[in-house]
């Protein structure tokens, strides 16, 4: 798969993700907390519990409505090309809840080609997703950048 041109990149800016909904299932909240070395929520306590804040990112990317491979393909890349995280920002308007369901919307916000002395040509793509709770209130926003190495550009 060849690298897109800079003009190709700009055609993707503004494209919206299909979006979807994400539920912080208790089993997933437990496993994620355990995996990230945090205290897992109790599966036996019926009281409302706060989910690990990493769930903002989990929900955003889990319900953006396309797979990572599909997102990479928007930029003429595959997982084998070695795309990596650049920067990330999570803003939590309210704590996320174990068992809560969130509607996810978002899309591509920016794309730019850069040249590093050591790294060569690479593209930096910015994308963002908003989470709303079941009542429609804003719950969180995740902004991210992803870096695509362009060894053949």
């Amino acid at each position: 798969m060849g690298s897109p041109t800079e003009a190709d990149l700009q055609t993707v800016v503004g494209r919206r993700f299909p979006g979807g909904t994400y539920t912080v299932e208790p089993w997933r909240a437990w496993l994620l907390a355990d995996t990230v070395l945090a205290e897992p929520p109790s599966l036996r306590d019926p009281a409302p519990q706060v989910a690990h804040p990493l769930f903002a990112w989990m929900a955003a990317t889990g319900a953006m409505g396309l797979t990572w491979d599909e997102l990479f393909a928007w930029f003429g890349a595959t997982a084998a090309d070695g795309p990596v995280f650049g920067e990330h920002e999570t803003t939590l308007h309210r704590p996320l809840r174990v068992g809560g369901t969130y509607r996810v919307t978002g899309g591509i916000e920016s794309a730019a080609r850069k040249v590093g002395r050591r790294t060569g040509v690479f593209d930096v793509v910015g994308y963002a997703m908003d989470l709303h709770d079941e009542g429609g209130a804003p719950a969180a926003r995740c902004w991210n950048s992803i870096v695509f190495p362009r060894r053949d550009a």
């Binding site: 355990d34 990230v36 945090a38 989990m58 920067e87 704590p95």
Partner: protein
């Protein structure tokens, strides 16, 4: 936490991950539906000339930073914002440490907020994540 002692320049307690677990990376890959094999397949790592130690997922590194600031501030409900830049890779078996320093204190909608500079570093190595966090002080 006794918030009256918090001031600009206050250092957060160091948060250590004594040894990054390759097994946790496998669970994370499944939770994320992440197809990237450098997080779990040693054969791929060797073929890419990356040795035989799986590379930790960026969100896990970010999660350690979240743990550090929320443990200090009073719980997972305290995080308002986290912005991070990924500077390098973390490999299985490495010893990590999160350090943080309060850079600002302010009030917003009746809540007392602390802005903190944060860094995740490999102990005796380089910084791998740096950024800033905002937490609500309880």
């Amino acid at each position: 936490m006794s918030t009256p002692t918090v001031e600009v320049g206050t250092e957060l307690p160091a948060y250590d991950v004594p040894s990054v677990s390759a097994e946790k990376m496998k669970t994370m890959a499944a939770l994320l539906s992440d197809p990237t094999p450098i997080h779990w397949d040693v054969e791929t790592l060797r073929a890419l000339g990356m040795g035989d130690r799986p590379v930790n997922q960026g969100p896990l590194n970010m999660g350690y930073v979240m743990n550090a600031v929320t443990a200090w501030a009073g719980g997972p409900q305290s995080l308002r914002r986290l912005r991070v830049r990924f500077l390098g890779t973390v490999l299985a078996g490495q010893h990590l440490r999160v350090r943080g320093t309060v850079s600002g204190l302010r009030e917003e909608d009746g809540a007392r907020l602390a802005d903190c500079d944060v860094v995740l570093e490999v102990v005796d190595g380089d910084a791998v994540v740096s950024g800033s966090a905002t937490v609500v002080l309880s």
